[in-house]
């Protein structure tokens, strides 16, 4: 591995954040719109040029002093093998959120960078959260419960599979939301809900990206029998800035643990997916190790006024 690092955005101001980007040089060129958007939000980034994806140990060593780490690398690597979880835990320090994105090609990474940059430039202070669920009693009930828990945060939109068609959901997700939470069954290829929502259904996606999609179900970041997992495809298609998703089978009880804690963190006002995930980390190793952040670990989860307004205009069956 060759590596060279340079702090691009200068010294650190009070309240400013610092991100370590571990990526090949050519990836940083494609990510330029996002790196420029970081600068407008007082996020200093340091580029660690890596031709090969760094090991966990190397990441741990390099991450000290940073608020987030973003790894971009060879598409042959799966989320499960690149990272051990959604955060790095340094001795005696707070957890650091870490995101992964495969460098599939320049066009896809550029598409992601434009969407992620848009999110940083548009980020407001409005909580707008879509609740998505498979049409199944257990999951509809959980969506209802999340609706109750999140009621005081601002706008919540119940876009469950009994309320929207898959086509309408894809359009609705282009409103420019801060966050969307899916509960239900999942596969490496996509969600079981909405008659089986797959990445290719977003091929013509022209909407505004969602800050973060929290996919609280099995396997949507798994590479099993797929070239690219659903969770990796969404940011690369410009659908969102980040996805929190599982690399394998999960327990329903663990997903409820995540749901409750994420709700509490959203109510407390977590401003980006990294801080949201760190505030919501469940106790125990397995529920944490099951999940990864795919995409920008600092993607905002608060939306603009216009994004929330567009979401309010979405018509549902309920």
């Amino acid at each position: 591995m060759t590596s060279r690092s340079s702090l691009v955005s200068g010294g650190r101001k009070p309240g400013a954040r610092k991100l370590l980007l571990a990526a090949p040089r050519r990836a940083a060129v494609d990510l330029r719109p996002l790196l420029e958007a970081y600068a407008t939000r007082e996020i200093a980034h340091s580029h660690w040029e890596c031709d090969a994806v760094p090991s966990s140990d190397e990441l741990q060593t390099r991450a000290e002093g940073f608020d987030a780490v973003f790894v971009v690398g060879a598409p042959g690597r799966a989320p499960r093998t690149v990272l051990d979880g959604p955060v790095l835990r340094l001795d005696g320090a707070a957890a650091i959120p870490v995101g992964w994105l495969p460098y599939v090609d320049s066009a896809a990474l550029s598409r992601f960078a434009r969407a992620a940059a848009y999110l940083h430039r548009q980020a407001g202070e409005i909580s707008s959260i879509a609740l998505l669920s498979q049409r199944n009693g257990r999951y509809l009930r959980l969506a209802d419960r999340l609706d109750e828990l999140l009621r005081d945060t601002g706008d919540t939109f119940r876009w469950t599979a009994d309320a929207l068609t898959p086509e309408d959901l894809i359009t609705a997700l282009g409103s420019g939301l801060g966050c969307a939470i899916y509960v239900g069954h999942g596969r490496a290829v996509g969600w079981v809900g909405y008659y089986g929502l797959r990445a290719h259904h977003f091929a013509e996606f022209q909407g505004r990206p969602t800050g973060a999609i929290l996919s609280l179900c099995c396997k949507t970041a798994s590479r099993r029998r797929v070239g690219l997992s659903f969770a990796e495809a969404l940011p690369l298609q410009g659908v969102c800035g980040a996805v929190l998703a599982a690399v394998g089978a999960t327990l329903h009880t663990d997903n409820v643990r995540w749901a409750v804690r994420l709700s509490d963190a959203l109510v407390a006002g977590a401003p980006d997916v990294g801080r949201l995930v760190c505030a919501a980390l469940p106790l125990g190793e397995k529920p944490v190790a099951d999940y990864r952040i795919i995409g920008d670990p600092l993607s905002p989860v608060l939306s603009s006024v216009s994004g929330a307004r567009r979401a309010r205009e979405v018509r549902t069956f309920s």
């Binding site: 009930r141 959980l142 327990l251 329903h252 409820v256 643990r257 409750v260 509490d264 469940p282 106790l283």
Partner: protein, 75 residues
């Protein structure tokens, strides 16, 4: 026990009648979804992990309080 009742009240604000510690969860009107959320809230409050296989054996409020006492979490 008061803390547990408060946490339970967060999960099911609609349950207003006093809970009987020895009655099963189902007899108190709680289902698996309520219990999963209750487990999450207890873990968050006491900062201790309750493994699923242990949680499934805690049949009522009395047993849950006893388990938490043994773990040093009080109740």
């Amino acid at each position: 026990m008061n803390t547990l009742l408060e946490l339970l009240q967060k999960v099911r604000p609609d349950i207003t009648t006093p809970l009987l510690p020895h009655l099963s969860w189902a007899d108190q009107g709680l289902d698996s979804m309520d219990l999963a959320e209750l487990a999450a809230r207890i873990e968050q409050h006491y900062q201790l992990e309750i493994p699923d296989n242990v949680w499934q054996k805690l049949a009522n409020l009395e047993q849950l309080a006893g388990y938490l006492r043994d773990r040093g979490g009080g109740s």
